[in-house]
Amino acid sequence: MNLESIDFKLFVEVDNNPFILFDSSGHILYLNNSAEMLLCYVGTKELYDLALTYAPKTFGHKNTIHSLEYEAFSFYSLMVGYETDEQIYLRLYNKPLVQTKMSICNESLISTDINTLLEANITLFQLESSAAISLFVDQELPTFKLDQNHFSKMLRKALSTFIDSPSLNIILKLIVGEYILINDKKHQIIELILKAPKRKIDFDDEINQLANQTHITASLKPETIKFQIPLIV
């Protein structure tokens, strides 16, 4: 096989683990999609300093197990490397979310365009909130099976925790390279991130309960809610 004809850059581009290449002054030379989203929550300098802190002592690559939390992002490990004095890269590895053993009740699952469901929930949210909404969604996501009623109840509760926030960032994307096991079957994961300067935590227990009922992994933090949704086809 002629490996030279393969565009490896694409694999880095779509990888769910953030990858950033800096020059010797800390300017970004390249970043992948995941790193672009990470930079909404953490500054370039902080990440460059992180790379310098964990850089190998000489040319090469060094992997360090280290827990990092940036709003909706949780990492368990990072890799830093350089082959010349001019460039240094930082790669962060997502922490796997704790999964409980799940089974599916197929009767309640309906083929769903999640963008439509999300839009309906945002519309309801806008009735009560004047938050400036910033949407970063993948409109090309395939339809998949979902318990629409339960999911909407959960999303309504989740959005209501941001009702008093002046702004809200919403990210909806397909995670590449990660799967969720349900009934011994691998499913791709769709990730929905809600992020704002502040949120109420009154409904967090209820949100967790609703997420469990719909095979969704919820991660609730003071300013962020992250749902990982199995893409069941």
Binding site: E107, S108, I110, T112, D113, T116, L117, E119, A120, N121, T123, L124, Q126, L127, D147, Q148, N149, H150, F151, S152, K153, R156
Partner: protein, 246 residues
């Protein structure tokens, strides 16, 4: 025509509710629309789900049967159903409508979407719009080309669109009624009410009161009015006193 009106509401909140319901046409989710009576909840739902089956919350047997037979259902007067331990909503498109302002907490977990529709008092931008529609209705019913405009800000909107429509119809009738119609109205009224022992004096005030009040409003002084009415000004002053007119 009724449906078209609400769809064209200029209220931002109504537009959001409309958009949410439009989106739910392609989803199997349960929605609850709450708000005061006569604010257009039913008309809005009819305009978006014209072919859906309707059932009333008063009739529990029919509602249960409809839930088992239909995947798309509109439940009117949902608060009358009372049994909130329903688990038949999943996988269906349910739109429940209610005038109730509060519900037990378990209702919150029944519905994917809960919309609170603002009253007409809270969406004054719609008062002018609906006022124009009701004025057109007046013109059509009474076969008239022009009607005098009512100051919409003066209307008490306690019953929302019902109050608005009533005020516009009353305004038209009060301002265009003919002597023959007044005579007919009084005839009907007296025929129903007469039966005491001093009715002449009692019912004379029905003529005198509006006559003197309108005259004073129009001419400004008792002196001028006595001249217009062709009665002695002392007689007029006595009448004003007896009738308690300021």
């Amino acid at each position: 025509m009724e449906n078209k009106r609400l769809f064209n509401s200029t209220s931002t909140k109504i537009q959001y509710i409309t958009k949410g319901l439009e989106l739910s046409k392609s989803l199997f989710v349960s929605s609850l629309i709450i708000g005061e009576a006569n604010i257009g909840k039913k008309s809005l739902v009819k305009s978006i789900f014209p072919d859906a089956k309707w059932v009333d919350g008063h009739n529990k047997t029919k509602l249960k049967q409809a839930l088992s037979e239909h995947d798309e259902l509109i439940i009117n007067n949902f608060e009358m159903y009372g049994d909130y331990n329903i688990n038949d909503f999943n996988g269906k498109r349910i739109i429940a409508i209610s005038n109730a302002s509060s519900f037990p907490s378990q209702v919150d977990s029944l519905f994917a979407f809960i919309y609170t529709m603002p009253s007409l008092k809270e969406r004054l931008e719609d008062v002018k719009y609906l006022g124009d529609i009701f004025a057109k209705e007046v013109k059509s019913i009474f076969n008239t080309k022009e009607i005098s405009m009512l100051n919409l800000a003066d209307i008490d909107l306690i019953d929302n669109t019902k109050s608005l429509k009533k005020a516009i119809f009353e305004h038209y009738i009060y301002n265009t009624i003919t002597p023959e119609q007044i005579e007919q109205m009084l005839y009907n009224y007296f025929k129903k009410e007469l039966g005491g022992n001093n009715d002449y004096a009692k019912y004379l005030t029905i003529f005198e009161n509006p006559l003197i009040k309108a005259g004073l409003a129009k001419f400004g002084s008792q002196l001028k009015l006595s001249s217009v009415l062709g009665i002695n000004r002392n007689t007029l002053r006595k009448k004003v006193y007896e009738l308690g007119i300021n």
